[in-house]
């Protein structure tokens, strides 16, 4: 029976930490902040969670923030004139401030709380898109988009008789900028792309892409769902117009997320959903809408969840986004090196580590990723298998599906070692002759 090798790590990538600098983030210590990491599966195996790109685990700071609202000051916001309601409103608005700081938004009022990045994208497609996209207008996307940054635009251009164009990618999973340049001659109204690909892990050159789009007169929307938890994001430095992300991928609760957009864009956009809280005055036949961001937050929002998202933002900033990036870049490099060395025949998709976030999609020769994931599950190892909501991207690589390991602040190299040993075992199970022990 193979065992997890207790050997020293190979030399790290020539990476982001200058030699001799103490590591900025201690994943071993912070793991105690995540109670779920102490659990075991039905076979008694400790949790090896390598599916953080799907959703992240939650630290105590977030769990307690949500719990605190529910236990101590559960009440509606922006309404009640009593202590609990004032506390709830204060905590909710403080979460907005924390969320704004995380991406260096110029002002908290430009943060609209939504359920997730998908809702933020739909909000922009319905509100901004329906007012600004017309017959013959072009929206430029990329081949690597998550369905959430594709399908809303398909629906919009079908309705408005507009066009979609796509920036293709290289076999290494990088955007082909020369084709992008040519597409910009079509004078698109909007360019929308992911900051970090959820399948390839590619970190796109968002500042350059944004500058090129602006020079061609297009607005820029960035899907930051896979970036905000993992790399420093500064929307002002990037120069973006819209930036969307989910709370649950950044250590926050499910049901939390944010849209950031420049104030003048939000002010010019019509409401997406209508109802309470988004109005200033209501008459029977007309209403005046509230200021931003409340204009876009109709009805009672996910108060507890957004408070949890604020706690997650504070937790991430406490660790330091630069430190997180260094840790995860090292993990990605370590994973690619280890898997290539230890797992015969493994095929890894996407770019090399410097251009890659903590995401590694792969296949074992002749073994369907569902079988890989199913067998790994027995060992307590959680990986995603399927198309990861990027069917066009899988078609681009002529793949039915891939398996994907993805990392976060709490991921440690021993878990990658365990994955490598687990994958070797999967290969051995599939290779063995019947009747012979493994």
């Amino acid at each position: 029976m193979a065992q997890i090798a207790a050997k020293p790590a190979p030399a790290a990538t020539p990476a982001a930490t200058p030699a001799g600098t103490p590591a900025g983030l201690d994943p071993y210590r912070l793991r105690t902040d995540f109670p779920i990491l102490g659990t075991v599966n039905r076979f008694g195996k400790p949790l090896i969670y390598l599916d953080s790109a799907a959703t992240s685990l939650k630290p105590l700071a977030v769990i307690e923030a949500v719990d605190g609202y529910n236990r101590e000051y559960s009440s509606n916001i922006h309404r009640g004139i009593y202590e609990l309601a004032e506390r709830a409103t204060g905590a909710y608005e403080a979460a907005r401030v924390s969320t704004a700081r995380l991406i260096n938004a110029p002002e908290a009022a430009e943060i609209v709380f939504v359920r997730n990045a998908t809702e933020a994208l739909n909000l922009v497609a319905y509100s901004w898109g329906r007012r600004n996209i017309g017959r013959g207008d072009t929206i430029v996307l990329t081949e690597m988009e998550h369905h959430a940054n594709l399908v809303p635009w398909q629906i919009l251009v079908q309705e408005k008789d507009g066009d979609l164009e796509f920036i293709p990618i290289t076999d290494d999973g990088l955007l082909r900028l020369e084709v992008y340049e040519a597409l910009l001659h079509l004078r698109p109204k909007l360019v929308a792309f992911s900051h970090v690909s959820n399948m390839l892990g590619t970190i796109n050159p968002v500042k350059q892409l944004t500058e090129m789009a602006h020079a061609a007169g297009a607005l820029v929307l960035i899907d930051g769902a896979q970036a905000v938890p993992h790399i420093p994001v500064d929307v002002q430095e990037i120069g973006a117009d819209f930036y969307v992300f989910s709370g649950h991928k950044m250590l926050g609760p499910t049901g939390s997320g944010a849209l950031w957009a420049r104030r003048e864009l939000l002010e010019a956009m019509p409401p997406f959903m209508a109802g309470g809280d988004m109005i200033r005055e209501v008459h029977l036949r007309r209403s005046d809408f509230n200021d931003i961001p409340y204009k876009f937050e109709a009805g009672t929002p996910a108060i507890a969840e957004e408070i949890g998202m604020g706690a997650a933002a504070e937790y991430l900033m406490g660790l330091g986004m630069d430190n997180i990036r260094v840790h995860e870049q090292q993990l990605a490099a370590y994973a690619m090196e280890t898997l290539r060395r230890e797992v015969p025949g493994i095929e890894i998709y996407g770019p090399e580590a410097p251009y890659r976030g903590g995401v590694v999609a792969f296949n074992l020769p002749g073994i369907h990723p569902h079988d890989v994931a199913q067998i790994l599950d027995r060992a307590g190892i959680c990986v995603r298998a399927g198309h990861h909501c990027t069917m066009p991207l899988h078609e681009r690589f002529d793949l039915a599906a891939t398996a994907r390991a993805s990392f976060n602040v709490y991921t440690i190299p021993e878990e990658i070692d365990a994955l490598a040993v687990g994958l070797r075992e999967v290969g051995r199970i599939f290779d063995r002759e019947p009747g012979r022990p493994v």
Binding site: M1, Q374, A400, A401, E414
Partner: protein
């Protein structure tokens, strides 16, 4: 070493590496030898020259794909073959099912339930993998429905269109079930 001294080589169960010792010992029970054998060397794999009915079924979400070909005479499944690709469970299931239905009457095959097929497969199928396990039976059912509607078509061509429209909408539903 990027993670500093915390990443130790100790193998005690208290250390991170030690904690993951022995995780492999339950991996082996799931995909039994006969499942893997059916996957590697599937029975009845190939094409029939003159099937009386055939159908291509797919799980678009995972890329499993099976084409079932049946040769039916006098209400009996005389010949059966399949081609396809996909996960071990979907392909082993097709291999086992084709063995099972060969020589049975159409009425018997039509009465086969998902549970009967799962018993035949004989391993734990998690809810997420049910579609893989049941694709073969679903594809056989579609092939038989096509055969039945083709028989009726001589009397009433419209019913065949209806059946294929049903299949198309069922496939669409399936495709839309997950994102």
């Amino acid at each position: 070493m990027p993670w500093g001294s915390a990443r130790s080589g100790e193998s005690s169960t208290a250390s991170p590496a030690g904690r993951y010792r022995g995780i492999l010992d339950s991996m082996d029970d799931l995909y039994r030898d006969y499942i893997l054998e059916h996957y590697r060397r599937p029975h009845n794999f190939g094409v029939l020259d003159n099937p009386t009915t055939s159908y291509e079924g797919a799980n678009p979400l995972c890329g499993d794909r099976i084409t079932m070909m049946l040769g039916i005479a006098d209400g009996i499944v005389r010949e059966v073959a399949f081609t396809g690709r996909g996960c071990a469970i979907s392909q082993a299931s097709a291999s086992l099912l084709t063995d099972e239905i060969k020589g049975k009457t159409v009425a018997e095959v039509e009465k086969m339930t998902p549970d009967m097929l799962l018993d035949l497969i004989g391993i734990d199928i998690s809810p997420a993998r049910l579609k893989c396990a049941l694709l073969s039976l679903d594809t056989v059912a579609h092939a038989l429905a096509d055969e039945a509607s083709a028989d009726e078509a001589s009397a009433d061509e419209a019913s065949a269109d209806e059946a294929s429209a049903d299949l198309a909408s069922a496939a669409q539903e399936e495709a839309g079930a997950q994102g």
